[in-house]
């Protein structure tokens, strides 16, 4: 997807303007409005239910960003991303619960933030480990190895071994008050929301800047044609592994963030379904676009919630509908993916791009 055109009659006069993120006054105003909404309006007016939906959206965005990077920008199809989220979540949990933190760090509330960073690195390295086959195989075969990553990590290592640490059996419980960031104890939806919004903005900003640098251009070249990319002097293996590392890194942050919203963590939070869900999110939002990741996350979470609300009144007549809602959710998700792939393969981001251009170029859209 190419960039948006400037509105009629506006021109750039320096290279700095050409490279700036918010190129016109209108966009600046729009973005400031967005920030005001995110930081002021939503926390002030949303109730706990609304905030929890926002948190879910934020978690989906963080998780899907890594998938977007791998599939949309580097062309490495992955169907096992939940494994890296799980690695991040478990690393962070174990560090917070079991690591002998110096009293100073605990006092200043730094244990959890440090564990997030550590979790991100561990998940990144884990991701590179399973990205290694990408040096030799691609396409369908790579899909299979990433699926193997999911089964080996979540269904085997985490379920059978990591869950046994401390003799708890299945789940690690996170007692209230364990998760602290600086002076704040993360114990309400509102605090989780603020943490989520900061992390999402950071991740999006870093990834967007990375994508317009040398690294990002190398990734896009590999996506478009890896043989040509190699001929042009790009170290294909290095950049593919780097893509896996960054994707795992963001995934680790997502997983480590999500434990602040959970009372207990178990392998069931990261099923294969969740990997596929993340891929579905970017397909519906639009492949190869960060906007798409965000739109897709909002769309999927909101549609599922709306579906649940729509079913509630029917539940009196057909109680089976509510009981089996999980299955309806799965079925709807499947149909939504099929419908988008068949009728709108460019995703929601493409429509957004068209709309923006329509207004920018009006009245002479040719």
């Amino acid at each position: 997807m190419s960039t948006t055109w400037l509105p009629c009659g506006q021109y750039h006069q320096s290279y700095a303007e050409d490279h700036s993120w918010w190129q016109t006054r209108f966009i600046k105003g729009k973005m400031i409005l967005l920030f005001v909404i995110l930081f002021v309006v939503i926390p002030l007016f949303a109730d706990s239910y609304g905030l929890s939906i926002c948190n879910q959206i934020g978690y989906t965005i963080l998780g899907a960003l890594g998938v977007q990077l791998l599939i949309g920008y580097c062309g490495q199809i992955t169907l096992g991303h939940a494994a890296f989220l799980a690695v991040g979540a478990y690393t962070s949990t174990l560090l917070v619960l079991e690591f002998p933190w110096p009293a100073v760090l605990v006092h200043w509330g730094l244990a959890y933030p440090i564990s997030i960073i550590a979790a991100a690195f561990v998940a990144g390295v884990w991701s590179v480990l399973f990205g290694l086959p990408s040096a030799r195989v691609k396409g369908f075969y790579l899909i299979l190895t990433t699926m193997a990553a999911q089964f080996i990590t979540v269904d085997f290592i985490l379920t059978q071994y990591v869950s046994q640490i401390g003799g708890r059996g299945q789940a690690f419980s996170l007692p209230p008050g364990t998760i602290r960031v600086g002076p704040w104890v993360i114990d309400s939806d509102l605090k989780v929301y603020f943490m989520m919004i900061v992390l999402v903005i950071l991740a999006v900003a870093v990834l967007a800047n990375l994508l317009r640098s040398k690294v990002g251009r190398a990734w896009v070249a590999i996506r478009d044609n890896d043989i040509s990319a190699e001929v042009m002097g790009i170290n294909v293996v290095k950049y593919k592994l780097l893509a896996f590392f960054v994707a795992g890194f963001i995934g680790g942050i997502a997983g480590a963030f999500w434990i602040s919203n959970l009372a207990a963590i178990s392998p069931e939070h990261f099923p294969w379904f969740w990997s596929l869900w993340l891929v579905g999110v970017i397909l519906i939002g639009g492949v190869g676009s960060i906007h798409g990741t965000i739109f897709g996350s909002i769309f999927m979470v909101v549609v599922i919630e709306a579906l649940q609300l729509a079913i509630l009144p029917l539940a009196d007549i057909y109680p089976k509908l509510l009981m089996d809602f999980l299955f309806i959710k799965e079925g709807t998700f499947g149909l939504a993916i099929c419908a988008f792939m068949i009728f709108e393969p460019n995703g929601l981001a493409y429509r957004w791009w068209q709309m923006k251009n329509y207004f920018n170029l009006w009245p002479f859209s040719y």
Partner: protein, 294 residues
């Protein structure tokens, strides 16, 4: 030694079922180039339909026949509604549509039949095992293996000797040439999906007879992937050999490695094996090596 022999035979017998489902997978891939991740849910649908008919009191073979007919119809419908519009789209699109299909099917199956384990009542096969020399084999395994082999032979002779089968072979070999000789590619795709659906249904029914039928039988559809990768994606004999090898490997790992790595070794082993195998021989035993040009 007894344990080894018994594990080996069980492996071969279960592998026969895997081979049957893998054959369906390879068929779709060969004819239409679709990498199908919905195979597991297709086995589920076939198995549950057969179970429903059987619970109504219809004899097993007749119930199987009915489920084959329904599988045929569903296969053609799936191809017509979903896959037909995607000819020539990128790999990811097609794969994700099959993933979407798998969720759709799974949701339907869970909604209609629930998630409790169901068994074929009364049991289709007698419970007492058969003694073959030193070996003791459960009747279910033996009959499943026989059924799988018979169906494999029927399918293979269908490709070799019938008009439809030859048309499918021609399309798989060279679509352009087949089209110019008057073979309808769309017809061939539809038939390929129908046959895959039927093969998957039989595989699911047989597996359901062994351990009872629940949603985890759909895991078989994922096991098919290591099998076809091992044999080569577009090789029919490869699928059969791959299926049997995966069956043996799975049972041997279950018998010998379980004491070192307690838990799910049996489920994980095929995937670990596949990931390692891909590093050394990405095109499988008999798959075509694709030469890429810019």
């Amino acid at each position: 030694m007894d344990l080894f022999l018994e594990t080996l035979t069980t492996g071969v017998m279960v592998g026969g079922i895997y081979a049957l489902v893998a054959l369906g997978w390879v068929l779709i891939y060969k004819c239409s180039g679709v990498l199908n991740l919905a195979m597991g849910e297709m086995t589920l649908i076939g198995a549950y339909v057969c179970l429903s008919f059987y619970s109504m009191g219809i004899p097993f073979l007749l119930a199987l026949l009915f489920s084959l007919i329904i599988g045929f119809i569903l296969g053609v419908l799936t191809e017509r509604i979903f896959l037909d519009r995607l000819i020539g789209e990128p790999v990811l699109t097609v794969i994700m549509v099959t993933v979407g299909l798998s969720f759709f099917f799974k949701g339907c199956v869970e909604f209609i039949w629930g998630t409790d384990t169901r068994v074929f009542k009364p049991p289709v096969f007698a419970l007492e095992p058969i003694h073959l020399g030193p070996l003791v084999i459960g009747r279910v395994y033996l009959w499943s293996f026989v059924a799988a082999i018979v169906l494999l032979v029927i399918f293979v002779s269908f490709f070799k000797y019938t008009r439809w089968g030859l048309a499918m072979q021609a399309t798989a070999d060279d679509e352009m040439a087949a089209l110019s000789l008057g073979v309808s590619a769309r017809f061939v795709y539809a038939i390929a999906w129908a046959i895959a659906f039927m093969a998957a249904g039989v595989g699911g029914t047989l597996l359901g007879n062994i351990n009872g039928l629940n949603i985890s039988v759909g895991y078989l559809g994922l096991l098919v992937l290591p099998a076809v990768v091992l044999g080569g994606l577009n090789s029919v004999p490869g699928a059969i050999v791959g299926g049997i090898i995966i069956g043996i490997l799975q049972n041997l790992c279950g018998a010998y490695l379980d004491r070192f790595f307690p838990g799910g070794v049996k489920q994980i082993a095929p995937f670990v094996f596949m990931a390692v195998f891909l590093l050394f021989k990405p095109y499988g035993l008999w798959g075509w090596e694709r030469i890429e040009r810019v």
